[in-house]
Amino acid sequence: MPAERLSAEEAVARFVSPGSVVGVGGMHMTAAPMALVRELVRARCRVGRLVTSPSASLQADLLIGAGLVDELVSPYVGFEHLGLAPCFRRAVEEGRLRVLECDEGSLTHALYAGAGGLPFVPCPPGIDLTGIPQVNPELFRQVEDPFTGESRWAVRALRPDVMLLACREADEEGNVAFGRFPFTDRLMALASRRLVVQVERLVGSAELAAHAPGTTLPAFLVSAVVLAPGGCRPTAAPGDYRADEDELRAYLEAAREPQGFEAYVARTAAGAAR
């Protein structure tokens, strides 16, 4: 079935139920679906549980700063060399955000489990020596290995109700292609019940196939395609534009205080593309 072509406003209104489990793609300051995230902020759409890629930046910090996130599943929210995530820090240090602590390995395997219909999966090695499972009984439980009898940690499958994703291109039907780095976005998409994809451009099917063999998602998984050229800014879209570090720094400076954050949101999200 072809995906619908919608505006960001229409797609969020149709497919993001307030209070649901929302996945956001993009790794560090690259390929964050900012057009869709800004629309969530503009529409004041509450996220019951935000699930990020193994390393999120502005796409998580903006939603947290806007007070829209009840629970967070993320192994990293930060801005690499630019600094820590101001709203995430403040919310956790002030006890206003429930963090379901996890790491890249457990998150990835929990997404594999979600994508493959497994209710839970044993964790990869190492996490048993950390403090993570003990502080997150919602996602981690001990199970007995049926083959050896040994105890090990398992992680519950993750299945976002809807995944917000930035891809490079889509064709008329809604098949989508990633840029050079698929990151974990493709796996997250496979694990999610619904998929809303913002793209830089629309192309013909032959062109799509020629550009990105093997790094596509089929239209039957895609609920909506939102055409949003420049929609990853100020994060990067590989092949199209680099991260706007001046703008990211301006955000980090503004978001050091709640008032500055509100002013930033008024400037950038209030008039999000309809």
């Binding site: 690499e80 956790v92 790491d103 890249e104 390995g105 990869p124 090695p125």
Partner: protein, 254 residues
């Protein structure tokens, strides 16, 4: 006489020397320093070294300038790019990766790292960004710890939260892991390894111009001190020239 190299450049050279030909190295966020070290090692003594740059999944990228972000689009022309879930699979497999380059808000006497929270986890004094791949440290052959902040706040007796496991802290602590664990710690002041008996951090070398007492004063626990602590050999002309060729924008010059 003031040295003609920066301390971060010295760190890159020291890290490069620790890599052996044929090893596979993985690094995380803010990759400029370990990336420079890997490329330097490949240029000088380890032409068969492979390295994976964090979230990008790129293998052996050689961008014209050192990138500040691990997902910088300039990494894209790498000879191979692994989708990130593939990197996670290999991190867990245990026999695919040799060296994990890691750091932390806190690093303790046993080489445990903490990127999650300083203070109580539920209501931290400082919430860190999160641990990403550091739980995999015991699964790779060895880990190389590095930090630009050699201070008593970073180097603590015990981390507040173990997010990257180090060595067992007691002789009775049984572990299923048979890897080497943290093998080397590189800072702007010194290099440290771990005492084979106690598994505690041991001062190995002090950088030129730094005294043993300076390092101890900057460390929040008692370092194991061998009878004599040699000076870290300064970068050779060849090392420095090769390093600056791969860092034309001076990212490592501080």
């Amino acid at each position: 006489m003031s040295p003609d190299y920066g301390r971060t450049e010295l760190m890159a050279v020291v890290m490069a020397r620790s890599f052996r030909d044929g090893e596979v190295v993985v690094m995380g966020a803010v990759p400029a320093l370990p990336l420079a070290a890997c490329r330097l090692a490949r240029a000088l003594h380890a032409p068969g070294l492979s390295y994976i740059v964090g979230g990008s999944g790129t293998v052996n990228p050689a961008p014209a300038a050192l990138p500040l972000s691990s997902c910088d689009p300039d990494l894209a022309p790498a000879p191979c790019t692994l989708p990130l879930p593939d990197v996670v699979l290999l991190e867990g497999r245990g026999d695919a990766l040799d060296v994990f380059c890691a750091g932390g808000l806190q690093i303790d006497a046993y080489g445990n790292c903490n990127l999650i929270a300083v203070g109580d986890w539920a209501r931290p004094k400082l919430r860190g960004p999160g641990t990403v791949g550091l739980p995999f440290l015991p699964a790779v052959r060895r880990s190389l710890l590095y930090t630009a902040a050699h201070t008593p706040r970073t180097f603590v007796e015990r981390v507040d939260f173990v997010s990257g496991p180090g060595h067992p802290s007691g002789p009775g602590e049984e572990r299923a892991y048979r890897q080497e664990g943290p093998s080397l710690v590189v800072t702007p002041l010194a290099t440290m390894d771990f005492d084979p008996g106690s598994r505690r951090m041991r001062l190995a070398t002090v950088h030129p111009g730094v005294g043993v007492a300076d390092v101890q004063a900057a460390t929040g626990f008692e370092l194991v001190l061998p009878p004599s602590v040699p000076e870290t050999p300064a970068p050779t002309e060849e090392e420095l020239a090769a390093l600056r060729r791969l860092d034309p924008t001076g990212v490592l010059q501080d």
